[in-house]
Amino acid sequence: MQLAQRLRPPERKAGTGSVRLYLAVAAGSFRRYSTYRAATLAGAFTNTVFGCILAYTFLALWQARPGVGGYDSNQAVTYIWVSQALLITVAVWGGGFQDDVQERFRNGDIAVDLYRPVDFMGWWLAADLGRAAFHLIGRGVAPTLVGVLAFGIRLPGHPYTWAAFLVSVLLAVLVSFGLRFLVSLTGFWLHDSEGVRSVMVVVALFFSGALLPLTLFPGGLGELARLLPWSALIQVPTDVFLERRSGTALLGALGFQAAWAVLLLAAGRLVQLLATRKVVVHGG
């Protein structure tokens, strides 16, 4: 290789090059998660068992109080199965890239990430989207099937609903990433984000609608819960699946998710800038 060739400035085809890189990262991440077959099977089984327990509980509740929260009993059971199918995809429990980043903080590999000519956030977002795509299939299909076969849940009939649902899930993953990314970045200051993360898991479980539909929350708490970003994780996509939002209400729901996604990703970008500055200027 000639010196002249080496000294030539690198070509700047940022656009397509970056897109291809991030697609490759996402695809690699998808394949990576697909190598853990036993874990996927065990996880889907767990989701199914919890789905059954919650479905029976909900059936009993809706028998005692028909129509509570604005759902009939079949919708309530559908809610449970869809939320179980989404639980891991939108990482209500945390995890995904968080585990990797946390590990890299602990063993110092985080330094390696900084001297690669790749955007830190872009890299992990792509990886998390790849993971989510895998989990949507690997952890989502089984609970949905069991819901259909054993509990007769209603699947959306209209292809538009399915399309809107997929968009809503994508936005949910973006919001979830935005939240988890901020938690992970605390590692630059706290060295270990585990504490912050456990607090966030509790908040996410409660406010995402994974335990109970947020429409069941009373008064002001319900209002608040529906405005917080966590409702974009489970409550909104599940309502889209149930066709409870249509027309402008559907656009409003997707817009709500998109707004939180943009806000959180922008915040992540800013904090990343501060974190990088801290490391580079003040030393790790």
Binding site: L3, Y36, A111, V280
Partner: protein, 319 residues
Amino acid sequence: MALIELEDVRRDFTIRTRTGRLRREKRVVHAVDGLSFTVGAGECVGYIGPNGAGKSTTIKMLTGILVPTAGRLRVAGVEPARERVGLARRIGVVFGQRTTLWWDLPLRDSYELARRIYRIPPDRYRANLARCVELLDLGALLDTPVRQLSLGQRMRGDLAAALLHDPQVLYLDEPTIGLDVVSKARVREFLREVNRAEGTTVLLTTHDLTDIEQLCGRVMVIDHGRVVYDGSLDGLHTAGCSERTLVVDLAEPRPAITVPGARVVRVEGPRQWLAFPAEQSAAPLVAAVAERYPLVDLSVREPAIEDVIARMYAEVAIG
């Protein structure tokens, strides 16, 4: 042409220690303190020093992930911290205890990703990969998930990953740590080939001095954030006042003999060990011994570079 230039570079860290219930004391540590050196294109330089000497801090500044507190620093004509991402495309970094490879996926996938990260033209990528695969014997490993590789195999995999984009400079931080003899030899052979054939500038930190002996024409010893020696490996002996040892087997046991220009450091039956300055010839000394005492056998032992460096560290610590 100087590829790496440091001029009076300093890097301070502020360390806060708790001194009371609420009181905290700030202390400034100079990790690198007035460091100046240049490395020319195509050189292979060993960068050594005891733990905490400032080696990693230097490498972090050279890669741009740490800014110097003071001084001037240039790599390939640019200021690393200011143009970190641009520079990252032109350097390769391998940390013996870290990996850039994708743990759960076959080695090949990490290389494909490197191709996209560094936007390596397809023909360069093919040629470089083929060369690395051949020199590092990676052929059978390309489709093995990284987590199943042994440490030596993983290290070879990491080296290839760092070189696919034809970096001008390669920083290596303990590239042979924890490897067995065969893997070490292979890694060294590869690095020598990369340095020789590609003209890649190599800066190597290590605690294994065999790495330096076999690879580097030049050694820099740093301690307490300063260069305490910069020159050839042979020159290190002179600088470290190292001594060679003449071992003589006399015809019969005797008390310590006296020979001008040497002193006896050990006596064991008829065998005696005589130390003399490393740069001095052994011939007159052998003649002098043979002239005075009946001699059965003799051998000359070269000084161990470890001892020289250990003495150098100790001197700096005292001085």
